[in-house]
Symmetry: C2
Subunit: 185 residues, 2 copies
Amino acid sequence: MRPTLRQRIALDMDDVMADTLTVWLDRYNQDFGTRITKADLLGKKLYDLVGPDRVAAARAYLDRPEFFLDLPLMEGSQMVVKRLSETYEVFVTSAALDHPNSFSAKYAWLKKHFPFIPDKNIVFCGDKSVIRADFMVDDSVPNLKAFIGQGLVFTAPHNALDIGFPRVNGWVDIARYFGVVESFI
Amino acid sequence: MRPTLRQRIALDMDDVMADTLTVWLDRYNQDFGTRITKADLLGKKLYDLVGPDRVAAARAYLDRPEFFLDLPLMEGSQMVVKRLSETYEVFVTSAALDHPNSFSAKYAWLKKHFPFIPDKNIVFCGDKSVIRADFMVDDSVPNLKAFIGQGLVFTAPHNALDIGFPRVNGWVDIARYFGVVESFI
């Protein structure tokens, strides 16, 4: 049995470390001439809003590996993850199996923006109930429900109406929750 | 919190589901004109045997994605994994982060030979202490030591001298251990 010396935090990638939704929405709006905003997505997924005939088209963006290569960072994520790593064991746990073409692009993105996270702390999975950690930060409430440990919901339009998990509205909130805020503000 | 109705088994891929060592050894011997056998590898890794100047060359085989595409199955693995899946939650937990080029090839291999394992039950990871499961079958003793749960060591030359974990000498032993042997013999 392995002694756990430091508490372990599992961080989701899309819409937590990377600002996936902004890019996805921009591209969709541009290609389909729509003006869907984040406010329109309150309590909904993009799939719910585009209508059944466009679900496949909306999903197709996420099945292109290049999509994940150039995603912008969620504001503050680099700095706070770095600080968390000094006190906690930080794992990245991405549901990459939802889009199996995306492994290499997601890995490349992580190495570019979070080079201080060792490879051994990167997990590409599907069902997040397989993750053993003390905390999980994720925008997906189903992921958090599957997780055995303390879940924190990272605010995104689709989860804005959900209750049941402590909520973090961005990376400054995460820093506060884990007590590393004083080291960078 | 998620209720666990079925016990969960985490299965390693290389040298458990796939016969990686046989192919690796064949290719190395062919390319370098050596005659290293599995018996030579008792208690050793190939890296220990080839000498420091050839470690990088030996490792290079595993960094080529094609290597993982055509690996033969470990005898009995398909049938026993199928039977296990009827009673247990079966997850594949591969330390794919050791060779980050290998994700897609490993995924393709799994879909070809184990199409009945859902994507959500596939995990590519590094440090296996992040896996939450009841059992883990792995040829790596360090992986089993990191795991919180019951480890079973799958016999390979390199671990043949290790003690400390119940040992399975192939898939018939696994079927016996988990009580599914009667359904296929």
